[in-house]
């Protein structure tokens, strides 16, 4: 496998070629991409940003991992706030918590991977998963974010 081979396979857009996750059984890994504006980042403590919608009655989402991209816009976000993924409504945290210095307070473009919690976690049926800040808002920054999130959908039969 070479870089040229990868480029041919991947096409001009990551999602442009090959069988997309939406064509697979949802029990297999699914993939979603979400753009988060700087205005949404500045309010992500009070208003976490939905990255995966609720899957419907009788189903549950499993967070697998996310690649988080900060496209630095010129002004750093201030206030040291960690971030994570959680179920909608201030629900259970489903990912590791990412340190402020590692991601949201970065002073240039940044790509960080965030893993699912290694410990067991009780999942919430038919509930969206959101990206959220901890303890309070960040201020002053102007960088948009891009989230590339991997997840599964299970029939809970509850």
């Amino acid at each position: 496998m070479t870089t040229a081979h990868l480029a041919k396979t991947y096409g001009t857009r990551n999602k442009g070629t090959g069988i997309p996750s939406r064509a697979l059984n949802p029990g297999l890994i699914q993939y979603t991409e979400v753009e988060i504006s700087s205005a949404e980042v500045l309010a992500a403590f009070a208003t976490p940003v939905e990255v995966i919608p609720a899957p419907g009655d009788g189903r549950v989402l499993e967070f697998i991992s996310a690649v988080m991209i900060l496209d630095h816009g010129g002004t750093d976000y201030a206030n040291a706030r960690t971030c994570h993924f959680e179920y909608y409504g201030g629900g259970t945290t489903v990912s590791d918590t990412v340190a402020a210095a590692t991601f949201i307070n970065q002073a240039d473009d940044c790509i960080v991977v965030c893993q699912a919690l290694s410990a067991e976690a009780e999942l919430s049926a038919n509930t969206a998963i959101c990206w959220a800040l901890d303890t309070g808002e960040v201020i002053t920054g102007n960088s948009p974010l891009r989230m590339k999130v991997s997840f599964r959908v299970y029939e809970a039969e509850l």
């Binding site: 857009r13 990551n14 996750s21 890994i29 790509i111 893993q115 991997s150």
Partner: protein
């Protein structure tokens, strides 16, 4: 699922039947297999082996996991031997757990080991290859080839 069903699905080679990862969107899990000769194992500290090539501008590789197989020959590798996956070369950011020498390279018989992605967050390196390397210094004296089965994703960064 039974063993027979698994055998039918996988064929005689893991990649023999079914939809291969290269037919899937690269944002889904991709899969690479690399054979590493014993000569290459003996220089993994100075010359890490590329497992997944750089994906091209505006893209980043996410290491997911790897299965490491040592096909034991007759002489055990000695000294050093902690191994891991990194970006670019022996100085790149480590993206996997480090595998103890005793758990893999210093084994005295055939061995299959799984290596996971780092559980902590880590800053990724855009358009960089994933390589397999040995820390600290070279192993010596061994003569067993190894095989790497690596799962990864490719993301468009927009950067």
């Amino acid at each position: 699922m039974t063993t027979a069903q698994v055998s039918k699905t996988y064929g005689t080679r893991n990649r023999g039947t079914g939809i291969p990862s290269r037919a899937l969107s690269p944002s889904l899990i991709q899969y690479a297999e690399v054979d590493i000769s014993s000569a290459a194992v003996l220089t993994l500290n100075a010359s890490p082996v590329t497992i997944v090539p750089a994906p091209g501008g505006g893209r980043v590789l996410e290491f997911i996991s790897a299965v490491l197989i040592i096909d034991y020959n007759s002489t055990t590798y000695a000294t050093n031997g902690v191994c891991n996956f990194r970006y670019t070369d022996g100085s790149g950011t480590i993206v996997s757990d480090s595998v103890a020498a005793a758990a893999f390279l210093h084994q005295v018989d055939d061995c299959i080991e799984v290596c996971q992605a780092l559980s902590a967050e880590v800053e990724l390196t855009a358009n960089a290859a994933l390589v397999f390397s040995v820390d600290t210094g070279e192993v010596d004296t061994g003569n067993s080839p190894i095989r790497i089965k690596c799962a990864f994703r490719v993301h468009e960064t927009g950067l």
